[in-house]
Amino acid sequence: MSTVNGKPHPPGPLLSFLESLGHGPETRGLAIALNGAVVPRSRWTETTVAEGDAVEVVKVFQGG
């Protein structure tokens, strides 16, 4: 199993992780890290997540 934002998710295409959160590759204001390194948007479609990997999907949010 791998994880997305701390929750279990089966390994596979990175975009399936994004879709599990209700977002697509076109959603503005998102960024993704795979095992602590940023995956540039241009590489989202070609990236595959392996067993044990940790994905973080973040967005712009309110802040001070």
């Binding site: 934002n5 701390g6 959160l21 977002h23 503005r28 204001g29 998102l30 960024a31 993704i32 890290a33 602590g36 390194a37 940023v38 540039p40 948007r41 973080e56 999907v57 973040v58 967005k59 712009v60 949010f61 309110q62 802040g63 001070g64």
Partner: protein, 257 residues
Amino acid sequence: MTQDLLTIAGKSFSSRLFLGSAGYPNQQVFLDSLAASGAEVLTVSVRRADLTGYGEGLLDLVAGKVWLLPNTAGCATVKDAVLTAQLAREAMGTDWVKLELIGDRETLYPDVEQLLKAADTLVRDGFTVLPYCTDDPVVCQRLADVGCAAVMPLGAPIGTGLGILNPYNIELICSRSPVPVVLDAGIGTASDAALAMELGCDAVLLNTAVSRSTDPVRMAAAMRTGVEGGRLARLAGRIPKRTRAEASSPELGLIGG
């Protein structure tokens, strides 16, 4: 009067008030407050995409209206702060970052040692770094030395509204800093913002004082005028303080003399 612009890393702003986007009662009050504040720089955070709130779609709401300044709020390690800044750059397409490295959860005081390391790392990675820091002239100098585009010393701990607890330090920092000084955190009301500007700060960053006030839109307008008044007073040059009275009316020609 010539236009009095604030310039940071080659980017100029006519407003010297930076506003935070958190903690407003709802989205409309936030947008109205932003408009009333006249702020051209808006701080935002990056959070896990499953978190919900009025920050939803924030980017679309303010796109093109303000310059976004993503923060690394809540980060306690260099690693987390650097990754957060890199994610913000990817998400927003800006290399500006308000660098926050919290050393203590209770006081939210900056961890200066880690802050310097993270600032150095991010500057080398091409970021325009605006660090939230302690009101210490030496720390501010070190941050400028590693290439920060501005320094943002605290007036008082985040969210306290205690105003500027050490005006002497803030004035000292302003008088020596080679980069713009943005007073960040601790502002409670408009007179605090005015004082920051009178002490020589180049701008003021605040959030809670507006978002949690009884009437945020009105307080946003108050902060705008506070900052403008303080800036004008600074430029005008205040009179020196005296320990004895000095009559302002002429002392000649008094009746009954």
